[in-house]
Symmetry: C2
Subunit: 204 residues, 2 copies
């Protein structure tokens, strides 16, 4: 009765993560998007400005936004944490550029993140889409795993909400409002499930 319809919390996903090494704090989806774009490049090398364009022109730029300032900041951060290595490429007549490469750690981190479903319905709209996009380009099998597990998460969630709605509550104003909140969450969860079912990865 205490944990019925819990409040929105911004820093969620900390307790649900498997936390095997607890290396760093949660990264923004944009950071993984950068890792993914680096992984995508044929040569394995790419510099910031190119990343910026790939981001803005590609599908990722239509899901999340990433200003150049933040992009270079994330590249530094990823390099500092050992997920990419960066070397300077001298150019004549043009400014020098830094080319970045994924490390083994970076590749592992990216694949782990891609394969893990998001916990809440709200995160479907951003995180999950980025994961799906990257999974498809990095390794289509990851996409199948991701979609399968995400469907499972959403089904569990829908079941829990249904169960909560089934248990009768005292009928005051707050409770009826709370029921509305639960029904909203349930419809949104079901909508997400329906959508997941239409993805090509759902043919299994």
């Amino acid at each position: 009765m205490t944990d019925e319809w819990q409040p929105h919390t911004e820093t969620e996903g900390v307790e649900t993560s498997p936390a095997p090494s607890r290396k760093g704090p949660e990264r923004a989806a944009a950071e993984y998007a950068l890792l993914g774009l680096i992984a995508q490049t044929g040569s394995g090398e790419i510099h910031g400005y190119d990343l910026s364009r790939s981001f803005a022109e590609g599908a990722l730029g239509r899901i999340i936004r990433l200003e150049s300032g933040m992009l270079y900041h994330y590249l530094k951060k990823l390099a500092r944490d050992g997920y990419i290595t960066s070397r300077i490429e001298r150019q004549s007549g043009r400014p020098d550029r830094q080319v970045h490469t994924l490390t083994a750690d970076g590749d592992a981190l990216l694949r782990m993140w891609i394969a893990a479903p998001v916990r809440s319905t709200r995160e479907i709209r951003l995180e999950f889409l980025v994961k799906l996009y990257l999974a498809r380009t990095v390794d289509p099998r990851h996409a199948v795993t991701l979609v399968t597990e995400q469907r499972s998460v959403m089904r569990t969630r829908a079941a829990r909400l249904t169960e909560q709605l089934a248990t009768p509550q005292p009928a005051d104003a707050d409770t009826s409002f709370g029921e509305s909140v639960l029904r909203l969450r349930l419809t949104q969860t079901r909508a997400a499930l329906d959508w997941l079912d239409t993805l090509p990865e759902s043919r299994n």
Copy 2:
């Protein structure tokens, strides 16, 4: 072709707002929630600690979270901007308390915010729920207005998404992904609409 499925932007609602006076920047939903709680009190006066409890124990605390530090910060902000007035109430044996009252400006601001639907589907989960809850307690007619207009917003949105999906696109990988994104948004929008239709305010 350029503005098909636009990116997620955090600072949205600025350009869509009617901007009549442009008094202050966008406020957090929690600030309006505080205004609403102050408006709810019978005497018209309430102090921070009571607000904190009302918040945590009531339905609002299950939708959004508000730490005491931020609560007092918002109260100062609202007082500074002239939406509430605060006076100190001396107590013997207890710490002095500050009791807060809505000003005419504050009341107007609250009602304006409550009556205005949210622009995006994403905001349904937080902002809209807070608006609905406050509308019901402050003035049930506001709730009818809000729900009616919100349904209209969602219908327009659904129509636009449907239209975008109808226009055929070149069939590359990015486009098919983009179509999935559009379909996700459409299902989520429709789910929100279905839920809105189940609210008592939708009987008109």
